[in-house]
Symmetry: C2
Subunit: 334 residues, 2 copies
């Protein structure tokens, strides 16, 4: 059973996962070696994943058989496990609880070589529909406090399989960065009586030097103080703190915005490894709160200069966001 443990100084919860590789010699094995040529996510290989939780599939096709366009399955090597009680206990001066949670994989396409720039927009929209379905289902479980939705693309960004997929982790605690974001946004709202993200959109629209693209519902922009070169945020025009409250019409424009952004990053940076993370309000926030604004943060993984930043929370970014915006904006999309 994995365990959640709390750092006694900063209050950061971490998962100590005993289901995954753990012996010193295991760290030598690279992702490439693990792949070994066979892809468990490809169409006709449905039996090699745990049984599907959810899928969009041609009518008349049976679960766990071909005919799907999006398939959601439990992670075969989950960081957390769904059954059990939280068992919150002290461990001397420390705090821990059972590693209860959900860890699901969204197989984005039956085709091994599909990428976001190549996807048909209706299929990419359905990825967001699928995220919404699973969040709406999992948030009924009152043990969960936060649901993370993210994609690791490329082995340098942490992907362990090539086949296009993204992930969901439902947690019984709120991650530290999310807590900080909520506190920071709340402090701004208490002081200004306005949402900090709405204010950023307002300012960036008139400044014009960090807006990469826009459509009816979304802005893609380089944040003012990015941690990483070419870090890009996709922010909805309309205020909402809750990702899963978005409509299909919004998701259609979100799919366009994400495809447009990843295509630009691909052209400028030659198919870089990247992570995208949906920043959403914690589940306890019952209603749409006025101070937080959901959005997507995309981080291309361009430099190895990393371990140090982990330890300090301090970032040196060699690319000014105004320069990144310019490169991304000038891409020839034809």
């Amino acid at each position: 059973m994995p365990e959640l443990r709390k750092d006694a100084i900063i209050g950061r919860w971490v998962i100590i996962s005993t289901n995954r590789g753990k012996r010193p010699s295991d760290f030598g094995a690279t992702i490439e070696e693990k792949r070994g040529g066979f892809c468990p996510f490809c169409e006709t290989h449905e039996a090699t994943t745990p049984p599907e939780i959810f899928a969009y599939r041609a009518s008349g096709t049976a679960p766990n058989s071909p005919g799907w366009t999006l398939r959601v399955v439990p992670n075969k090597f989950p960081a957390l496990q769904i059954e059990g009680d939280l068992d919150k206990v002290g461990d001397g001066m420390f705090d821990k609880m059972s590693g209860i949670g959900a860890h699901e994989v969204f197989i984005e396409s039956p085709l091994h070589d599909m990428t976001i720039p190549k996807m048909a927009l209706p299929d990419l929209e359905k990825l967001f529909w699928g995220f919404r379905e699973r969040v709406l289902d999992l948030k009924k479980d009152r043990r969960f406090k936060y649901i993370m939705l993210f994609k690791n693309y490329g082995s340098a960004a942490g992907a362990s399989l090539e086949h296009p997929h993204s992930q969901l982790i439902a947690l019984p605690v709120v991650p530290l960065v999310v807590q900080q974001e909520m506190q920071g946004a709340k402090a701004y709202y208490d002081y200004k009586d306005r949402c900090v993200f709405c204010d950023i959109l307002h300012q960036e629209k008139s400044a014009g030097i960090r807006v990469i693209s826009e459509n009816d519902d979304f802005f893609a922009l380089s944040p003012y103080a990015p941690r990483f070169p070419f870090e890009t945020w996709i922010v909805p025009r309309q205020h909402s703190s809750v990702f899963e409250n978005a409509t299909n019409a919004h998701f259609a424009n979100l799919a366009k915005a994400l495809q447009d952004t990843i295509t630009r990053l691909d052209k400028v940076l030659q198919d870089p490894p990247y992570n995208f993370i949906i920043h959403n309000a914690p589940l306890q926030e019952e209603h749409d709160v006025p101070y937080y604004h959901w959005h997507i943060e995309i981080i291309p993984k361009l430099t190895k200069v990393a371990g140090f930043e982990w330890g300090t929370g301090f970032y040196i970014n060699p690319t000014p966001p105004e320069d990144a915006t310019k490169f991304l904006r000038e891409v020839d999309l034809s």
Copy 2:
């Protein structure tokens, strides 16, 4: 001139450095290519670094000539620059200031292939002497609020040169993780009237399952909630919040503790890339404060699964610290 910019939501300051590589094509160049066979840090190559700030050298030898054992030079590609005013200004709703600071390199040995496990202990002690000298000098400059001391070892951990070296960055702001550590430690002290690190040492001594080694002045331990496999902390027995107040006798035992720990990590993990970071109180804290306890955090860089953790502050660690302790403790050091 580099710029310090503040994230409007979380309040994180980042350096937007324009002195370093920044065009999209620059990210392709790896560290190996930059090396090109010539090492600017080797003995007799003194002229290829900026003039030395400080050195331990044989009596009678001139600055910037052979004869040194430790040499401190400005970073040739500094993230921050020493001359100028802070010029704190608003940028619409955002905040920025000039990238004022110091960025120094500690060349730990004249020998290219020296490593911490192979170093003579008196030479390793002098590295700490050197850190202390530079901190004591730089803290006179009232523009600086924090000094980071760290080492990147191996290209996966962010080292851009092989020759053994560590770094100092003096900052006009306090990094976010340091702020959090200070706040967390202060909250614990306010509640318990004891230092959280002293309490951790007390508990770990009796629990015994996360102590890797100890000597008269230092403990090496696996933290209770480590973010990374084999993360190891070296914590002084005696309470002090200020690294640079340590005596030569303490540094002698610190050198022993660090060499012992890195040797163990080397043997268990086969010469892993790693970072060590000295966690020290901010410079504004004039006196030794009762709630904070300086220490060293060592992070071996074993997994690529990283970009996602950057974005969320959420960590999945496949190696329980009790297992890591066992592996490290059982190393045959003979």
